[in-house]
Symmetry: C2
Subunit: 415 residues, 2 copies
């Protein structure tokens, strides 16, 4: 039996026990896990430095090494994340609906765990802990497959968490790490119907597309974000400026940052130069339509390929449009249906935009950067879904659950 099948089967064996744990038992385990991480920080940092060393020798870029690196501060904040998960309400067992039928059947719709969740991600050891915590809080077993360049860190973290779980009501078997660094172990997970109930990919678009296109297990797609901000004719100049700057430059590397600014021709005539100058100061590279380039001498010409690119970087496309219809059309063509924003003082245009744009989150007069579990008040999230099935937008704990109908009768049969 392969490592993947073996570990997924071990995880599945615990699903019944996990579904029956009390909230108190789960919270206690999360706190014990947090403590263990802090206590064992030196050992985790030592394992992490092996990964960093290997990465440096292999020529891994500095930005990726930074995502991989752990120190006491980062481990403390990862442990703090587990404590925050312990404080969130437990969705398992919630009664979502009660139906009393004329024949006396008493039907309850109850939240239950999904079962066994597979998480496929890159070389970010914090995801190992986050995913373990979120899955355990929702009574799910979890099979983790992290990037191979974080393998030493992940192994040590899982070792620490396993030892911690032994003191708790949660079987340590519920938490599995796939150590096989070959791509074939990912391929195997994708086809593990019957052992995995869902796979959630977390990472760049190549990783996500591989999962979406090859998995036979149901997937929750946490996709890329090509997000737009549309500055309408009536947009307030200061608001337009601050929302645009925030959406692009507060943290360009994340999925809810802006890639393309759409500007109403009238607004552009009066204010585009000022907006562009603010971006130049940061600096953000600008790529514009011909009309934009005519107004902003330092803007490069934009291509359709640029409009279809998630830069995750200090680069911004700008397109001048004739009005709301043209903005809607551009968004329908290029959006990845993540987060989209209109800045306007016109309530009618705002309503049309929020109604007609097909995206997980649609904003009127606020930055797209708010699409985030913490900002919505959900607490920690396992990712932001860009698909329409099951969960859409920031996925809090309920996104990691399913439901079950419990029916009580007194001998009812169907006529």
């Amino acid at each position: 039996m392969s490592e993947v099948v073996n570990k997924a089967a071990l995880a599945k064996e615990t699903a019944g026990v996990l579904a029956s744990l009390s909230t108190g038992q789960k919270n206690e385990a999360l706190l014990v896990m947090a403590e263990a991480l802090i206590r064992e920080a030196p050992a985790i940092i030592a394992a992490n430095s092996e990964d960093l060393e290997r990465g440096r020798l292999g020529g891994t870029p500095e930005s990726m090494l930074d995502r991989l690196a752990l120190d006491v501060g980062r481990i403390t904040s990862i442990a703090e994340g587990l404590r925050q998960i312990a404080e969130l309400p437990d969705p398992i067992g919630d009664n979502l609906e009660t139906i009393e039928r004329p024949n006396g059947l008493f039907i309850e719709k109850i939240r239950v765990p999904l079962g066994v969740i597979g998480i496929i991600y890159e070389a970010r050891p914090n995801v190992t802990v986050d995913a373990a915590g979120l899955c355990l809080k929702t009574g799910n077993a979890v099979v983790l497959r992290g990037g191979s360049s974080a393998l030493s860190s992940n192994r040590k973290i899982i070792e620490v968490l396993h030892r911690a779980l032994i003191e708790t009501a949660i079987p340590s078997q519920a938490l599995q790490l796939i150590e096989d660094p070959n791509r074939s172990s990912v391929d195997e997970m994708l086809k593990l119907n019957g052992l995995l109930d869902v796979i959630i990919p977390r990472g760049g678009s190549a990783l996500i597309q591989n999962v979406v296109l090859n998995a036979t297990v149901p997937v929750i797609e946490t996709g890329a974000g090509i997000c737009h901000t549309y500055l309408d004719a009536s947009a307030d100049r200061e608001m337009a400026l601050s929302i645009s700057l925030n959406a692009k430059a507060q943290r360009p590397s994340v999925c809810n940052s802006m890639e393309t600014l759409l500007v109403h021709r009238d607004f552009a005539a009066e204010h585009l130069l000022a907006v562009a100058e603010a971006f130049r100061e940061i600096p953000v590279e600008l790529r514009g339509c011909p009309e934009t380039v005519a107004r902003i001498p330092w803007a490069l010409p934009v291509s359709n390929e640029d409009f279809a690119t998630e830069y995750n970087d200090y680069i911004l496309n700008i397109k001048i449009v004739g009005g709301l219809d043209e903005a809607l059309q551009h968004i329908a063509e290029f959006s990845t249906r993540h987060s989209e924003c209109i800045v306007t003082a016109d309530a009618g245009n705002a309503e049309r935009f929020l109604q007609e744009v097909d995206a997980a989150a649609v904003y009127h007069n606020a930055s797209t950067r708010f699409t985030d579990g913490f900002e919505f008040g959900f607490g920690a999230e396992i990712g932001i879904s860009t698909q329409k099935l099951h969960a859409r937008g920031p996925m809090g704990l309920p996104a990691l659950t399913s439901t079950k109908y419990k029916i009580h009768g007194s001998g009812q049969i169907r006529g």
Copy 2:
């Protein structure tokens, strides 16, 4: 461009209009569709007789011809189904959650259509109308791919519905029928990410498995039902008898009928013979474990393969077990997680069963045959989901929807 891509693209073009239709507009269209079907019944029956003729010549079994056959009575009842869909509450636009954040962001979670739904099904022309009605009521465009042996019937039905829609607010383009009878048109639909938002297969397990294993578009699996009824030691004899007979024999061809009866050893000692005799009268063929065969001379020996088979027929497996644990173990091994029942007077055992059995619907003292949208009070259903993502159990109108976060701000940016 292939027929599949072309028609899916035409359907997708209408998604925006469909999402904005009022409930009144959708209901009116459903009533106009119902009327048109009744008015055009003779033409539909004529087209249907072409399919039946081809089927007979090709040696199609009588039971399949019966599913395919339409007459005035059946068309009237199919039209009545559309009128019932018109009477159901419209889930689109429902506000599921309102969140006011400390920074003043006002977040609403709103029900929206899924977009474009692909339905892949067998030679049952009633599904053509049901699926069209349910999708249109939920503001979804739909691409239908029915069994090729019903092609003449489906073509005529869609022609009638298209002509009806022209009198309504719904663009007829929202309703597409794939006419290519080759299997390749199904394969093409399964990979149509970007044009189809979800695929729902309806039919036998071969059809469903093909969709689940080959689709890259998200799927809602409406799976097979290997359903169990467990008669506990304390089960009331009459209740046990009537629930068992109903679960097996009221309509054996459907997914929520019982395939295996698990019987506590003590109950078996006193009552199994009487239960078996009642099944013999119907008659239902019995296949039993060695202990069952010792008690019921006319029972054949059961195999593990039998336990893993959905008969959809007058055949029943019987296994005598030592108690609840053994029953739970057998169900965990062989259940398809559809509908499972315990008959018992012991409240503790009932609660353990409802808690521990992992299935869409778990019953205490009622027949598994109730797992059905109408019986749950949801009205018409597009199928019964046996997966855990998005929808589980009978899928009413909300299962054909997604959600969207609408956010109103006043210039908020992220710090």
